[in-house]
Symmetry: C2
Subunit: 445 residues, 2 copies
């Protein structure tokens, strides 16, 4: 009878151990994928790609056995090499392995369709996406998604510290929060079903249960946009919190998340930031401007003509972002009090001027990455708003039941993970910050 | 100009602060939902439901203002109460608040459709699910989902400590890993699409990028099962790891996760475990039995007739679970070497006997909660297996490209979150451990 004890015997070392000093001049074993081979007359450099970076091994070709082994090794093979760990300040980690033994674990059958061992790939975005399983092996490409991981960790860890509970709500449903447009539809055991555009209804219902909840999950938008900032499936970072005094509480919570996450990135993702040549700025405070003031400020300072008084055009968002940077030195700016007619029925109108709502967007370097606000918590008020909009409450019985049975004042927000990552990385296209993008033309890979 | 600094001014206290001793005999403010009112002649007890538990407030009815306020308060209202914090060992937290002021934040319009203030709800599962937004407000019901949160935290935190990277892979696709049956289908901009049954292909491709990856996300199964253990949408805890020596490495990793998670639950979810009257056992080691040995053992010890030599019936899983408990004192047992014909094409066959695979299931109290194993990493071997099964590689070009370009030996597993929770909670039906279940008849709430 064999038993599992939860302990994996470690026979190979990772870069963090190899560079710790502990194993210098010792015999060690290292595994990895062959990133690159530089074959000289007497020696060859075997550069391994490991999960925590690049590692240099040196192979002495005067050793007949090793010379034979070298012939079998091609880029993309995975190997297990053993030998002495030697200090060498010219090697990328300050150490290198002098190979005494080499075992090929697996071999590729083809050569790489794109050049991934270059530091910066000179490949078009389309080619990168077409060969996604391969292009992501590039050191810079994969570093982007480590940064993305850090953003998600920051979101979860910060909210957990603030008393939020994580939930998992269904993506298949009969009805969605934002109404009928832009929904993917399917048949669910002979019933019509949709894919949720957001966990809005569910997270609100859960405020009645846990007060503060969050969810990280996919959302689906059947929008026919073909732009650099739209995806048809993306990862949404959502939270909703009860017992708020005003919608400014939500903006404070988001500001806290950003500060926490930027600190986390600086602390735990320094290696990836260096690879990507990124500086994470200090975020002490984030300015807020009302929708109307921001519109006016961008128009006056940059001579931009206001065409639509009820919404912000992409160009206006850019100008407001520029304004925030120039006037307040901030990459971020909260835009508050969006017009009611551009917000969903559940948004709470402003007491001072009912044409506007207690809501906000967060712009990051001139792009909207968050929409949030206070929601109506009173059942009668919610029903009135539905009626005023000529909307039916059909299919919303469960959502409305939470309000009938009492709900605290609450609000929340949704952050587009890929957009946030894109702006942090200074990318031009959201697809650069999406592992496997889904857009009008991409359903594979 | 207003700035957000990320700091929320706290005017109200949570139970952890109220019971800390720091605020004893001080004037404090507390918010919460009215869980229960016990109205006596001179005083009334106002029991609040807060996110971290139940809290008792006392209202003196001889105070005219408070007596008037009491009239407005019904179960389900949310309130902000202020007053003196007084020691009282008979109160649930050892302290209670003597109300001097009360503000109603929101009021319900209806009475509760089900009795949620009871400690144990005597409601049928169907009624609980029909009124899900309300039934989850019950203290015991919501505690189940805090435990579920703990399992997910344990999974992520443990794997993170083991060098895994978290990924988010698309749920919309053109093709799925397990083939055509049991897929939800939809139209994606005039192209046929499916919802992924598992992130299998994606996590394998990502092994070539990050070596070790995990994902927590929804999976979709259009299975027409109507049982106590099947859902049509559930949350899957998936990981995949490269450079394994054998599939036992995967089982060791899962054992490590379970030990870590049980410790986390004991440490950080003690309150919920107490509410649910649950004891978390020590897990030192998990026994393993081969598929054939386990089948034989259950048959011999319990006189169960073997009907299908290629699969385990639910009754057999139960008997094997019973066997593991009686023989090894373990709630868990790994069943290894499943027959090849019952495993997908990418499963690696056993070198000693090709009719079996290097794969396993984990049974927990007699129910399968995990399927995992080593995958084929060699391109030619993968193509041979496909051909032997008469399968086409159409639509798998991207998946296969990863193998053409080299993949390390690897394997992984998928854990059904709701099933794991169900078994931990000793529930009879997986729907008890699902926030909003999706089954043959439930698409709402």
């Amino acid at each position: 009878m064999e038993f599992m004890t939860g302990t994996l015997e470690k026979k190979t070392l990772e870069i963090i151990e190899l560079t710790s000093g502990e194993f210098l001049n010792s015999n060690v074993s290292v595994n990895g994928a062959v990133h690159n081979i530089r074959d000289m007359s007497d020696i060859a450099f075997l550069i391994l790609r490991k999960r925590d970076g690049i590692f240099q091994c040196v192979l002495n070709k005067t050793d007949e056995k090793l010379r034979d082994a070298l012939r079998e090794i091609s880029e993309g093979a995975t190997v297990l090499v053993s030998g002495k760990l030697i200090e060498n300040e010219k090697a990328v980690n300050g150490v290198e392995l002098h190979i005494s033994e080499i075992e090929v674990l697996s071999e590729p059958t083809d050569t790489m369709p794109i050049k991934i061992s270059k530091f910066k790939m000179k490949t078009s975005l389309n080619a990168k996406l077409d060969y996604r399983p391969i292009s992501l092996r590039n050191i810079r490409e994969r570093a982007k998604f480590k940064i993305q991981e850090g953003i998600v960790r920051g979101f979860r860890d910060y909210l957990h510290s603030q008393g939020f509970t994580e939930v998992h709500t269904p993506k298949l449903g009969a009805k969605s929060a934002e109404g009928g447009a832009n929904l993917f539809r399917l048949e669910y055991f002979h019933k019509p079903a949709i894919l949720q555009q957001s966990p809005q209804f569910y997270k609100q219902m859960m405020v009645g249960v846990f007060d503060r909840v969050f969810e990280v999950g996919p959302v689906f938008r059947a929008e026919k946009h073909n732009t650099k900032r739209h995806l048809n499936e993306y990862t949404s970072l959502d939270f909703e919190m009860g017992y708020i005094d005003s919608f400014y509480d939500i903006m404070e919570m988001e500001t806290g998340f950003i500060k926490y996450t930027f600190d986390l990135l600086k602390k735990e993702y320094a290696k990836e930031l260096k690879i990507l040549e990124l500086e994470i700025p200090e975020v002490d405070k984030i300015p807020t401007m009302s929708f109307n003031d921001a519109k006016k400020a961008a128009s006056e300072k940059y001579g931009h003509e206001i065409k639509n008084p009820y919404d912000l055009e992409p160009e206006e968002e850019q100008l407001i972002g520029k304004y925030a940077k120039e006037e307040f030195g901030s990459d971020f700016v909260f835009i508050t009090h969006y017009p009611s007619k551009k917000r969903p029925f559940y948004a709470m109108d402003d007491d001072d001027d009912k044409r506007f709502t207690k809501s906000f967007d967060l712009l990051y370097k001139g792009l909207e990455i968050t929409t949030g606000g206070q929601r109506i918590h009173d059942y009668e008020e919610l029903m009135n708003k539905l009626q005023k909009r000529g909307m039916s409450d059909e299919g919303m019985e469960d959502y409305l039941s939470a309000f009938k049975c009492g709900m605290p004042p609450h609000g929340g927000l949704g952050i587009g993970l890929e957009r946030f990552t894109m702006q942090l990385l200074d990318e031009e296209n959201v697809r650069e910050a999406t592992l496997f993008p889904r857009d009008l033309s991409r359903l594979v890979p």
